[in-house]
């Protein structure tokens, strides 16, 4: 199928700014789905609120555009009630980890099979550039005019600590890797987390004098490195890309099926 067969052309043009990284994620995701040969009817995309979350409107799957931060909770209901569906949950960094942080760690802990994609642009794009939990110490935002004193955290480390059985990171510069990782994440039988460093030239870029969208993507090339590379040893500040964990852990819906069997047997 051509990638355009996965989108709802009727609903274009999209709302994203020129140069926004979110469109690149949409592109790579559809290529991954196409390469996996999945049928559109088996995919449910659940998103929250934010520029990133608008992705669900543009794709021709079953799509559920929900509340800020709550996408994983809605997705849990969809998946549990119909485990044969493939559930993909794209989220912004604020959506997934500020207002939605609690749902994030508990979905990871349950290891319920779905693909959580965090489009991390380190800012609240939709509301106009306020700092997010991922902005980081010393950055600027419309609510951090005197430099941000909030520390960020490492999404991948947190996902692993919470129990996610698949955790990976990539960037909008590394589109091939992005598609490959997304394929693995979708195929994984458990809770998969894919953090994608994405650029918001309009707010994060402008506030922090990072140049154009292309400059920001160049940055992703320069300040990241494959997991376990030599470069990382020499320069510990480099951000690692690749798959951090991919392990077999009993999946929540299949565990629940066993529970039902026992209940029906009266055990």
């Amino acid at each position: 199928m051509a990638v355009k067969d996965y989108i709802r052309q009727r609903f274009f043009p999209h709302i994203w700014c020129p140069g926004c990284g979110h469109g690149i994620v949409l592109n790579a995701l559809l290529r991954a789905i196409d390469q996996l040969g999945m049928s559109k009817n088996e995919i449910v995309m659940v998103s929250g609120i934010g520029c990133s979350s608008r992705i669900s409107g543009y794709v021709d799957f079953h799509t559920l555009h929900t509340l800020h931060g709550r996408a994983l909770a809605f997705a849990t209901g969809v998946k549990m009630s119909m485990p044969e569906l493939n559930v993909i949950v794209p989220m912004g960094d604020g959506d997934a980890l500020a207002i939605g942080g609690n749902h994030f760690i508990h979905a990871a802990r349950r290891n319920i099979a779905m693909t959580a994609i965090i489009m991390n642009n380190r800012i609240y794009g939709m509301t106009g550039g306020q700092y997010s939990p991922l902005s980081g110490y010393g950055t600027r935002a419309t609510t951090a005019p005197y430099l941000n004193i909030d520390h960020d955290f490492d999404i991948a480390e947190m996902a692993m600590a919470a129990g996610a059985s698949f955790v990976a990171r990539t960037t909008t510069y590394h589109v091939r890797q992005m598609a490959d990782i997304l394929k693995e994440a979708i195929l994984h039988e458990g809770f998969s987390v894919v953090e994608i460093l994405s650029q918001c030239p309009t707010y994060f870029g402008r506030k922090n004098k990072m140049g154009s969208a292309a400059d920001m993507m160049e940055m992703f090339k320069k300040n990241t490195t494959p997991i376990g590379s030599e470069a990382k040893k020499e320069n510990p500040d480099l951000i690692e890309r690749g798959i951090f964990v991919q392990k077999d852990v009993p999946e929540y819906c299949s565990e629940y099926d066993k529970l039902i069997e026992n209940a029906m047997k009266g055990q």
Partner: protein, 382 residues
Amino acid sequence: MSKNVKFIQGNEVCVEAALYAGLDFFAGYPITPSTEIAEHMSLRLPQTGGKFLQMEDEIASICAIVGASLTGHKVMTATSGPGFSLMQEGLGYAIMTEIPCVIVNVQRGGPSTGLPTGPSQGDVYQARWGVHGDHAIIALTASNHQDIFSITVDAFNMAETYRTPVILLFDEVVGHMRERLVVPEPEEIPLVERLRTSVKAGVDYHPYLPREDGRLPMSDFGGVHRYNVTGLFHDMWGFPSNNSGVTHGLLRHLVDKIKNNVEVITRFKEYYLEDAECILISYGSSARSALHVMENRRSRGDRIGLLELQSLWPFPYELVRKKCANAKHIVVVEMNMGQVIRAVKRAVDHPDRVVLANRIDGFFINPTDIKNILRLIQGKGV
């Protein structure tokens, strides 16, 4: 004892009724005095092949049931005051997206953590207006186990009929009280099943284009029609729109589908209203004490009657007006500082004849409390 007769808690009755109505997905978070609903669900649902989920909070609970309703299941969550407050955004989402679901609020004293084990009926207006923005809502209640059973089944039926969340506003007393329940035979109470679209695969399906009768046939997620669901104002495809015609039309539809059916939705019981000079109006557990007082006074020859409301929203203004037309005194009995009484005053021809018999100290309103008010009305003093 026949196997259809049980002696159980009101909260358990609610669970049995939900299963009778076809519930197969429940998500919740424990909170007194509703917890037994979650506990009993965790035991009973898997036995019937259904699913019980204990979520990380009430926000997640209401979101999860909305997700599960979309795949074609009958769903419910249960909570009490603080949890009901947390659910408001999700409730508004279910209203906006027209997703059938049932939300039980076994009321306790509030605000805040309030009186976890004390009875109250303080959430009547929260049920009506807790959600931001204009909207309509259905809220039902009951005063005894047999009625909890039938009203819970009604709640599921109305959720499907109107594609809307329905609130069951119980209280601590009926929730925890044990009394006899005769479980209805299968099919004794008719069930409303989900109205699904007859549009075939490959033909354009408009998920948000109401039929002439206002109903919206659904297509299950995972089925042949793929569409968008959003809490933003949306057009007939479910795609976000801020076109003024679309916005106006959707809001009117959401409100009218309930407002225009007040009479069909209204549930009540009446006792001796024909010749009553004094009418007690009550609901939930308070109506038990009101019934007791009414029977007691009738036996002494007083012309007193009782109107027990079982649907609080949409409020049956016309019904209350008609029933109270000839009454000299109308006494609203409720465990709050005066909530349903506001609607009653708006409804009746002579609002000055309406007085309140209430209790707000976390203790159950008893017949003496009501009798004292009646004595005051009669100029007898207490």
